[in-house]
């Protein structure tokens, strides 16, 4: 039998040459019911905590930021302590567009911030990816520090430590204006989170996403499998930067203010904590980590306003020591069991 030509019966199901059969990936990226439960949380929160919509909006924004770090760290394996750089770039991009150019359309602002952050990612990628391990980590910290100081110095543009003011947003799509109670802001942030999450989900289940995970496991093996390691890592880095930029822009738009600590080192460190807490490399870890961290922060600061950081530190140490892969990592064994049951004939 000439194996070059597929059997006629199979021909219909066999994809044309030049395309990859993505059916199994699509199967893997199909939503499962526990996921639906997670997405009911923002809906439930709307009804349960109508007084706390501003905090809930922050959670949604942080979740996008954590998601962006998950793409960079969890999937591409690039450890960074300077991720706030892109969050800040996005925040200032959206802020300046509205404050200086008078373009207050929120969606246009998101697109603009995404583009600027992507560009920042593109520019920094060669420097960051040049080194490995500790070198790389230091470079990311350095980039973060430089941007912070740049924003601090350029007071005319950024307002320096006083922050950027005079940001006016027009209604979203000309229909929904931002209200005093933060209802629009909350729905807006959650919808953007959902959209970005679905896109990220699609990406990590694509061959590109799989190759990132493979690369994570064995970078030396990848070139011989036709994968340029540098190009893949750079793509993930830019993608993460773009996501972070959108998160920053959302913060600007929903608070109509840019504080210089959008670029702060603490933000970079905090988001890393959040991702590790939730579990890196599984998307939902970013969401769960954010919810748990911000809630803990909120509750502990209420109980013990002075020493709440100590309690958070304690919880974190406990998690990394006893649940290596974060909160989501503890769910993994069950999930694997579920997956196996489903694929067994």
């Amino acid at each position: 039998m000439d194996s070059r030509s597929p059997k006629p019966a199979a021909a219909a199901a066999t994809p044309a040459p030049g395309t990859v059969d993505l059916a199994p990936l699509r199967r893997a990226s199909r939503p499962r019911w526990p996921e639906l439960a997670v997405w009911l949380l923002p809906v439930a929160a709307w009804f349960l905590f109508p007084e706390d919509l501003a905090l809930l909006t922050q959670i949604a924004i942080m979740a996008i930021f954590a998601l962006s770090l998950d793409l960079v760290l969890g999937y591409a394996g690039i450890v960074t302590l300077g991720h706030a750089a892109f969050f800040g770039v996005g925040a200032y991009a959206a802020g300046l567009l509205a404050a200086k150019l008078g373009i207050g359309d929120p969606l246009l602002g998101l697109l603009f911030a995404a583009a600027v952050a992507a560009l920042a990612g593109l520019v920094t990628a060669p420097t960051v990816l040049r080194g490995t391990g500790l070198t790389r980590l230091m470079v990311t910290i350095g980039i973060g520090m430089m941007l912070f100081e740049a924003a601090n110095k350029a007071t005319d543009l950024t307002g320096g430590v006083d922050g950027l003011q005079g940001i006016e947003m027009t209604p979203i799509l000309g229909l929904w204006s931002f209200d005093l109670w933060g209802k629009t802001a909350y729905v807006y942030a959650v919808v953007v989170l959902l959209v970005l999450f679905l896109v990220a989900r699609r990406i990590v289940h694509s061959p590109f996403g799989l190759s990132l995970r493979a690369l994570h496991m064995n970078p030396a093996r990848m070139p011989a499998l036709g994968v340029s390691v540098d190009a893949r890592l750079a793509a993930a880095w830019v993608l993460g930067a773009t996501y972070a930029g959108i998160a920053g822009a959302l913060l600007t738009q929903t608070t109509q203010f840019v504080s210089i600590d959008v670029l702060g080192f603490e933000r970079s460190a905090e988001i890393l904590l959040i991702l590790v807490l939730g579990g890196a490399g599984r998307l939902y870890g970013a969401l769960i980590g954010t919810i748990v961290f911000v809630t803990l922060h909120h509750v502990l600061a209420g109980i013990d306003p002075e020493y709440w950081q100590m309690w958070i530190g304690l919880v974190l140490i406990g998690i990394v020591l006893f649940a290596r892969n974060g909160i989501m990592g503890a769910i993994d064994p069950f999930e694997r069991l579920l997956a196996r049951k489903k694929t067994e004939p």
Binding site: S3, M217, A224, R340
Partner: protein, 252 residues
């Protein structure tokens, strides 16, 4: 010769400053299978790694499908049709069998269905993690993964090493099927010549980094004395070697 798929001329290469290959030349036509023979440490693996651009080349020329390989980065060589299955297999342990394949697929003639037809055992285990596979299954997966890149030339480095006899038989059947179709050239490294010489058209024997024989496999089969001198496995040569070698000698 326009039909030559791979032309290697006067190749000198090694790891760092240490030269392993000193003057290796051979050619391989499209669809041909070549046995790469030689005792341990003679440079067989280094030759394959050099073809993939993973060693330091000190001299000589390599042309693949008419293109100069020397300036081509490894991932381009892979995309140009050089499929390498290293001895270590290097399966991605926490990707499933299916994901191991789709992660690198380029959408060529090898679809998942075609791979499943050739490796029914992998189809059965497609939802298992790469790390849960037996050695033989890992080897099959490594070969299948290389096929997903739609190679024109497959480089197999001791695929039978350490595998159970039954699996070795299955792999030989698979390799024979791959070479029989004529659209895939193969370079097969094996410690023991007897099993692979009948499967291949040509043979290249390396001794201390030099090619001491480059020609028809048949000639070598008919001249066991000479082969014995190079490999020392038939008759009174040193014992040991790979499982496959022992199987071939009827010891396992």
């Amino acid at each position: 010769m326009p039909d030559m798929l791979l032309e290697v001329e006067g190749l000198i290469a090694g790891h760092g400053d240490a030269v392993v290959l000193e003057d290796v030349s051979f050619t391989l036509a499209r669809g041909q299978a070549m046995a790469l023979l030689g005792r341990n440490g003679m440079g067989k693996t280094t030759l394959l790694a050099t073809l993939m651009g993973l060693t330091r080349v000190h001299g000589g020329a390599m042309r693949f499908a008419g293109r100069d390989l020397s300036a081509m980065p490894t991932h381009r060589r892979a995309l140009a049709g050089l499929g390498w299955v290293p001895q270590e297999r290097e399966i991605f342990p926490s990707l499933t069998v299916e994901e191991n394949l789709t992660a690198v697929a380029v959408g060529g003639r090898w679809t998942l269905d075609r791979v499943w037809t050739m490796f029914p055992r992998l189809k059965e285990r497609r939802a298992n993690m790469g790390g849960q596979l037996s050695g033989g299954e890992q080897q099959m997966l490594a070969i299948a993964r290389a096929l997903m890149l739609d190679p024109v030339l497959l480089l197999l480095d001791e695929p039978m090493e350490g595998l159970a006899p039954l699996i070795v038989q299955e792999l030989f059947r698979i390799i024979r099927r791959m070479t029989e179709t004529g659209d895939l050239a193969v370079i097969l490294v094996e410690q023991h010549a007897h099993q692979i010489l009948p499967l291949t058209d040509r043979a290249l024997v390396l001794e201390r980094g030099r090619a001491v024989y480059s020609g028809d496999s048949r000639t070598l089969i008919d001249d066991p004395q000479r082969l014995d001198g190079w490999l020392g496995v038939t008759g009174g040569g040193p014992r040991g070697g790979t499982t496959a070698a022992r199987v071939a000698r009827g010891e396992a």
